[in-house]
Structures are given as C-alpha cells and as structure tokens.
Amino acid sequence: MKFSIFRFNPEHDEKPCMQDYEIEPQPGEIMLLDVILRIKAMDNTLTFRKSCREGVCGSDAMNINGRNGLACITPVRGLKEPVRLRPLPSFPVIRDLVVDMTRFFKQYHSIRPYLINGEPPPEKERLQSPEDRDKLDGLYECILCGCCTSQCPSSWWNPEKFVGPAGLLQAERFIADSRDRATRDRLDDLKSAYRLFRCRTIMNCTEVCPKGLAPSRAIEKIRLMLVKESF
C-alpha cells in the first residue's frame, strides 16, 4: 500500500513536505496505527502520538485522507491510496503528525469542566437518579482527541474566542448534570457573540467524531436552554 505522510521537523526543515512510503500490511496489521508503527520501525524519524491503541486515549487523532479520525480504530484496508496522513488541520504543528493542543485545552478549561456545587458534601457521595444519570450519555464519553474542533470551520476562523465543539460538548455535560449547581453561570458564560454562537451548525464535528458523539446536538441543547432561560 502507498502512504503519503506529512513531514515537518522545525529544527531542519523550512517548509513541510509529503513523504511517500510503500508498505504492505501484514496479517494482524488491521488498523492504520499498526502500519504507521511499522513505518516508524523502518524510519524512526517519523513522529506521532499514540498510547492506548484502542480508541480510548485519543492521542493518535490525525487527518486521514482529508478526514479526521483515530489511526488506531481506522481499518487500514478500506483506505483510498495513497493514504494521505496529515496532522490535525488548524492546530499548530510541532513535528510531523504531532500538533500543539494548548489552545484546544485552554478552551476546554474555559468551560470549567468539573462539578460546581457549593452545598456541603453528603457523607458518602452526591446521588443521582438513574434517569438523571442517563442525561449524561452521549456526553461523558468524549476522549478529547480534538478531531471535531480541528475539523470545525468556526474554530478555524475564531480559535481564540469560539469554544469549539469539544468544549461545548463538555459544557453541556456539566449543564445537564443534576448534581451541578452552576447551570445559570455556565449558560451566562456562553451567551456572547463568540463563545457558542459562532457555531453555524455545519456539523463536521458530529460527522467526524470517532466516538460517534454529536457535539452539534449538545450545542443545540445549550441554545434551547439559553432561549428558555431568557424568558
């Protein structure tokens, strides 16, 4: 199989370039990551992130033939050749397929991704009914790989001001949590022209999420809550 991989080493290269590799997947090499790992064994200058290799950690998010995904859960066989691998679009490149996620995590932290509840904690734990717990399904599973935010045009244009789909999915995760007491503050924080409302409902986020989540639906839910709040 033919691969064309984005290469950039800021220490020697002035400009990035695409490097071609030809390698046949062996039996047992099912996912794209398996093949990239063997390419790395041949050419150890190739740099990328990976950790759990089973779609849980979100480290190996990359742009595969123009579409963001996790290399470790992308079957290598069906991919169109040459398989073009690039770093996540719009994120600053550190080297090869490794990108700088600082801005992404800054936006994530800005929605205060933790339970806020000033009431005295009960002896054991804050309980939740099974129905309330169900409201977090489709939200808590996010692994923060960055596939959605990196493929969102609104994030491309306003990465500093627009929270982005990943952050907004997390915002909804805490807004929807029955144990959280800061719902109103959280909603107020998203009212401005930029933080949430730069979303143009393009829905690339939902299209590419490797975990099958729907950030666009979470954004819609927050919008409707904001509308309800305002009356």
Binding site: S154, W157, N158, K191, S192, A193, R198, R223
Partner: protein
C-alpha cells in the same frame, strides 16, 4: 448584540418572512390584482402596510445578523471590521428608508 439575541432575531425573522412570503404567493395565485390601481389600493391598506413593514424590518434584521456573522467570521483587522459593519448598517438603513417611502408614502 449578544450571540443569543442575534440568534433569536435571526430565527424569529426567518419564520415571519416564511409565513409572509407564503401569504404573498397565495394572494397572487388566488386573487391577483387586476390593475395598477387595485394593486396600489391593496398595498396601501393598513393591514398590508403594517405586515409588509414588519416584513421589511424582519428582512433588514435578518440581513444584519447574517452579514454581521460573515464579517465576524472572516474579517479580523478591527478597523476594517468596524468600517465594514458601519457600511453594512448604512446600506441597510438606506434600504429601510427606501422601503418606508414606498410602502407608506407611496413613491419609490
């Protein structure tokens, strides 16, 4: 204008314009004006005057939110952005005045 308010203005104006356009089309299909005088009388009637003016306001508000979104998305330099927003506001206000002249004063 906050993001929330702009978004609501955009949605509400869209719904109103949709209904008004359907009403307008239905009117022209069912009972088209037979002459210029009949058309003029129809436009000059208070009910049409008011609903058409609301349509005009909805159209201008909708255009403002939509084009402002485009400018906020793509135009980064503050000076250029402000001048474009100013030009847009001026253009929309002119259209508004023109609209009032036609619908309420009867000349174009």
């Amino acid at each position: 204008m906050s993001g929330l308010r702009a978004w609501m203005v955009q949605r509400v104006s869209a719904v109103y314009m949709l209904f008004f356009i359907v009403f307008l089309l239905a009117h022209f299909l069912v009972d088209p004006p037979r002459s210029y005088a009949a058309w003029r009388d129809w436009v000059m009637s208070p009910a049409i005057g008011v609903s058409a003016s609301v349509f005009g306001a909805a159209l201008l508000a909708h255009a403002w939110v939509g084009l402002r979104d485009v400018i906020l998305d793509y135009v980064r330099p503050a000076a250029l952005r402000l001048s474009l927003l100013g030009l847009l506001a001026l253009a929309l206000a002119t259209l508004g005045v023109w609209f009032i002249r036609i619908v309420w004063l009867g000349h174009g």
